[in-house]
Symmetry: C2
DNA sequence: GTCTATTGCGTATGGGCTACGCACTACCGA
DNA sequence: TCGGTAGTGCGTAGCCCATACGCAATAGAC
């Protein structure tokens, strides 16, 4: 069964005393803790480090964000970074929060829980689209960053007039947020496949269709439904970029609407 | 914008000629290609390598699955493995397929698209639950493995009587599959957090609630909805393991039902 | 019985993270 | 005004990783 040390913050990590249970540099980053004012003036700042990391991730993917690489971008030695961040994973968390940013303000003319929730989902998707590397980030502890909390706040507020109880609201947000995230992962995959070999999305899809065709045609009759789908040409052309998202968000909101309707 | 080399199979990888577009060792693994019969008898087999990898992943997480580690488990030298697998990522793909396995047969008394689709989702979840490391696996190219295709086949067949057109069926499967996957990711996170520091799920949640409380209480009035949720005690106790899943799958299926109903 | 494809695997290269400790700096408290 | 000291940047070094390359041994093919 199970087991998966991944993403679990180790025992040894020092914790702050702000009562948050977060690590020291995280508390510092969230402004819960002052950087002491003794010693030499710091030549760097957390912000600069995080910005450098985000820039590298944006142009070369999260895999290119190594301590050495970030240090080089800043013209310092790799070890310098550890004065600001206790481990690379912590830098990742900071980068994640920075890229997530404050949610844009909800327009006043978006009213009613459904429209507001949909707007919220689209806004979230936009953030992911701008930073595809976000969804490649190894997920660690449950998210507890200021910007993330702002998004949650906005999402909860969107459900104000839904009549749902608090616990339900949260469940709905997780559902919608999970959907958005998942959809972007798929998009990022297609994007990666495009960069990797083929060129155009259509070409990638055609190649994929051919692969599946080859795999399913060896044993005829084993994949009837799949071959029917294949025959229908569904995989021959890449969807317009938004098709799957539009479809999915519609279904999910319909499902939530059923719940709200029967309260 | 964007860019994310991750998970993209490189140019240099040798491709088979089976017309699948897959790499040589993948074609071999899928039984589309024979291992030549010259030379010394192989001392290993792909199956043994993959099994060893799966075993390590199961007990120590995907991060512990390195070439050296697998080799040691088999009592061979690391480089031996490269006679069977061209790169570590390929081993991952093989492991993924092996752990996914053939879907269990759909019981005859499960009838109608909704019940069948729900059964399908639960079966999928069960696989993930047994192998939490699966959802930590870096996603690479679009999935094209025999077992994955079998799951797709079963999913499409489940929608036979839905009256949806082929493309829609696929979209529905992606939606449901994505939901399941996402839900398991959350479960894996909680699991990781449990192993990391605290013990019981409740304890983890309480700690999380305390963290959020600390973060939201500095600026009163900035997180009204969130603080209301917090006050409702929603985060104080971990849900029973299935609660979120049950909620989500119900909503998603409700949403699909709306679509099916209006065809 | 030779030929040769294929085997295992040793060596080596080039990364990566990060513990540790040194030399130095500038604020604090007296 | 002037140590004391907590902080600084950063060099060194240890350890783990993936994997290119090439060599000697092997056993089926002819």
């Amino acid at each position: 069964m199970a087991a998966d040390g991944e993403g679990a913050r180790g025992e040894g990590t020092a914790r702050g005393e702000g009562g948050t249970g977060l690590s020291v540099s995280l508390e510092t980053a969230w402004g819960l803790r002052e950087r002491p004012s003794k010693g030499p003036k710091p030549g760097l700042s957390l912000d600069r480090i995080v910005d450098a990391g985000v820039a590298i991730a944006a142009s070369e993917g999260i895999g290119a964000v190594t301590m050495g690489r970030v240090a080089k971008a800043l013209g310092v030695s790799p070890m310098s970074l550890y004065r600001y961040v206790s481990a690379r994973d912590e830098l990742y968390v900071l980068m994640q929060d920075a890229a997530t940013g404050t949610p844009p303000e909800m327009p006043a003319d978006v009213t009613g829980w459904r429209a507001r929730l949909e707007w919220w989902a689209r806004a979230q998707r936009e953030v992911f689209r701008r930073n595809l590397w976000l969804v490649r980030m190894p997920i660690t502890s449950p998210p507890a960053s200021p910007h993330y909390l702002e998004w949650m706040e906005q999402g909860l507020a969107a459900l104000d007039d839904s009549g749902l109880e608090e616990g339900r609201k949260l469940s709905v947000l997780m559902l919608v947020g999970g959907f958005v995230r998942n959809e972007v992962v798929l998009m990022a995959d297609l994007d990666a496949a495009m960069r990797a070999g083929g060129q155009e999305p259509d070409e990638v899809m055609r190649r994929y269709a051919r692969t599946i065709d080859a795999l399913t045609s060896t044993e005829p009759g084993r994949f009837p439904a799949l071959r029917r789908t294949l025959a229908a040409g569904v995989l021959d052309v890449a969807d317009a970029e938004d098709t799957e998202f539009e479809f999915g968000i519609g279904r999910v909101l319909d499902g939530v609407a059923v719940l709200v309707g029967e309260r």
